[in-house]
Symmetry: C2
Amino acid sequence: MTGPQSAPQGIVAGSIPLFAGHPAPELLPVRGIRHALAAWDGRLPLRAFNYGDEQGDPQLLDFLLARLNAAEQLGIGRENLMIVPGSAGGLAMITRLLTKAGDTVLVDAPSYRDALHIFRDQGLALRALPIDDEGPRLDALAAELERLAAKQMPPRFYYVVPNFQNPSGITVSEARRRAIIELSNRYDFCIVEDDVYSDLRFADWAPPSFYALAGGENVLRLGSFSKTLAPGLRLGWLLGGSRQIAEFVKSGVLRMGGGANPFNAALVAEYCQSGAWQAHVDWLLGQYRARRDVALTALAASMPGGLSWTRPAGGYFIWLRLPDAVDVDELERRAQAQQVYFANGRGFFPEPAKGAHFLRLSYSYLPPDDLRTGIAILGSLIAQLAA
Amino acid sequence: MTGPQSAPQGIVAGSIPLFAGHPAPELLPVRGIRHALAAWDGRLPLRAFNYGDEQGDPQLLDFLLARLNAAEQLGIGRENLMIVPGSAGGLAMITRLLTKAGDTVLVDAPSYRDALHIFRDQGLALRALPIDDEGPRLDALAAELERLAAKQMPPRFYYVVPNFQNPSGITVSEARRRAIIELSNRYDFCIVEDDVYSDLRFADWAPPSFYALAGGENVLRLGSFSKTLAPGLRLGWLLGGSRQIAEFVKSGVLRMGGGANPFNAALVAEYCQSGAWQAHVDWLLGQYRARRDVALTALAASMPGGLSWTRPAGGYFIWLRLPDAVDVDELERRAQAQQVYFANGRGFFPEPAKGAHFLRLSYSYLPPDDLRTGIAILGSLIAQLAA
C-alpha cells in the first residue's frame, strides 16, 4: 500500500517521460523496506540516530566489503571503503577535495550531464574525449594529455561511467580500460569511476573494474544503492586507496555531520544483511532486461532508416543518433507537443553543439506499453523530419 | 527498546566525554520516530523512495514555512526556503558555490571548529574577529573590512553562530547584529548565520535573527533537526533570498541526487505534522536547561579562583577561560589520564595559540552525575596547575 502519488520531479503528469533516469515506481522495494523497518522496530539501533562514524555505518561497511570481495576478489580492507550520501554526494566530495576552480578534468563526450554540472559548479575546465563503442578513443586521450602536458595543466582526474554509460549505454572494453590505466600512470592523473549501473548487468560477463585492473592504485570507484534499491535513501559507497579514503574521512563536512546518513545506512544494513537486497537485485535484472528488450524491439519496428542506436548490456539507457537532416531541438519541440519527453543530446556534451543529432532514451521508468507508444511517436516524427 | 549500544564516534568507552557536542542518547526521540514510522507504515509515500524535488520534500517545506512565519513573523514564501542534508551539508554547499580557493571569509575567534575545517578544505583564507560577551567586536570587524578593502580582497561572507555559540555559548546582541548588517551592506558581503541552537533557548527572549533584522537581504540562515530531533537523520533547512535559493536549488549535486534526503524528509514531515516534534522540543528544553544548571552549579562549587566561564542562555556549551598560568594542553594531558575529555580551546581559533587558555565543556551529552564528576576532576587539576 502506498500513499497518494504524484509524478516525480520534472515529470509532466500524463506525459510519456522517455527522459526519466529514475527507477520505475513499481520497481521500488517499498514492501521490502517496510519489512526491514518492521524487523528493525523492536530494536531501533541508537547508532542510527546520533552522529555516526565519519567512514560510515560499520555494519553496512562490513556487508559491502564482504560482497565486493566475494564478487570481484578485490582483496580490499575496511581502509579502502567509505559510505557516501549517494554517488552524487560522493562525486561532489571528490570534486571539492581534489580540485579547485580553474583545474582541468577529462570527461567523455557524451558524458553524464549532472556530473558535468557538478564540475562546472566547481569552476573546472572540461576536456572532452569522443567515444566509440568501446569507450573513449585512445588517440584523442593521448593527444589531449600531450596538449595539457605542454601547457603544464595536468588533468586532476578522468571521470568515466564505465558500465552501461549514462547516456550512451556503452561499456568501456577491458583493453581500453588497461590502456587508460597505463596513461593515467604515465601522466599521473586519477580515474574517477562512477560505477552505479554495474549491479544491473544483463550480460553474463563484464570487464573488471578500473579499480580492480589498477590494483586499487589511483582509482576512485563510486557505487550506489540508488539504481538497485531507492534513490530517496541517498546512499552509495566509495572505494579507493587507503590514504585517499582516510583523507576524505577526515574532511570537514564529515567531521561536522558525522558520516553519510547514519539512519538510512543502518536501515539499509538491516535490509542487506537479511538477503533482501540481493533478491531484489536479481528480480530487478529481469524487469529491466525485459524493458530494454521492449525498447529495442520498438526501435527496430518504429524507426525509419538513417538512424543508429546502442544496445546496452545493462543499466537504464539507449543512445540514438539521428539522421544528419534531423536536428534534435526541432524533434524535441514536436515530441513535446505530443507529450513525449526525451533527453536532448546537447546536454551531455561540454560543447552542446556536438549533441545536435543525439538523444537519450531511458527504459527504466516507463511500463512497456508507454515505451512502445513513446518510441512509435518518435519514429513517425523523425520520419517526417527526415523526409 | 534499543539495540546494543556502542559509544558514538570519538568517545572512549568508560570515559567522561565533556567534549561531546552530541545529544545525549537518552534524549533522542527513538520512541517518537518509531511511532512516526508505524503511522507511516500503512501508507509509505512513494515520494520518499525516488529522486525528490531539488528544493526538498514539499510537506516538510510547508511545515517549516508555517512554523518560521508563525514564530518570527518573517513573511517568507516557499522561494526563500530549501531543505539541506544537515547544517553541515548546507554549509558545505554554501561554501562550494559561493567561494573559490584563495577567497577570504570572516569568522569569530573562537568559532565553530568543524566549520573552520570546511572552510580550510575549500582553501579559504580565514580572518578572525575577537569576540566579547555581545559577539564579535565591531572595532575589529571595521578595521578588518578596511584592511581587506585596501587590499581589494573583499570577504565572501561572515560566518556566525548567532545564538548560544559553539564553542562559547555567547549570543550576539541585537545592537551588534544591526551594526554588522550595516557593515555588510556598506562592504557588500553576505552573512552566513548558522542558527542550529535557537530552538533550544532557555531564556524568555532572544534577539531577532540576522535574517529577520536584514529583511532577508544578503543573509543565509541555516537551521537543523540535529539538536532537537536526531543528527542521524541529516536534515536541516536554509533560508535565503529567492534568487540565491533558486541558484542553490539548480546546482549540480541536487540535480544529480534529487534533493536532500527524500526518505528522511518525508518521515520527519510526518513526525512534525503530528505535533510530536514541538512536544519533543518543549520537553528537551527542560532537560537541557537542567543539565546546564547542573554544570554551572558544579563549576561554581569546583573551580578555584582565577577562572571565568560563560552562562549560556541556551544550546549545548560553556566556555572556560583558564588562569594565565595554566596551559590547556597540559590540563588536557592530565585530564585524559583521569579519563576526562574536553574540547581544547586551540581548535576553535584560526590561530590555535590564541586558544591556549580556553576550553569548551558540553552539557548536552552527559547525565548530571557524570557532569558533576567530570567538572570536579577538572577543578582539582586546574587548582594543582595554578598553584
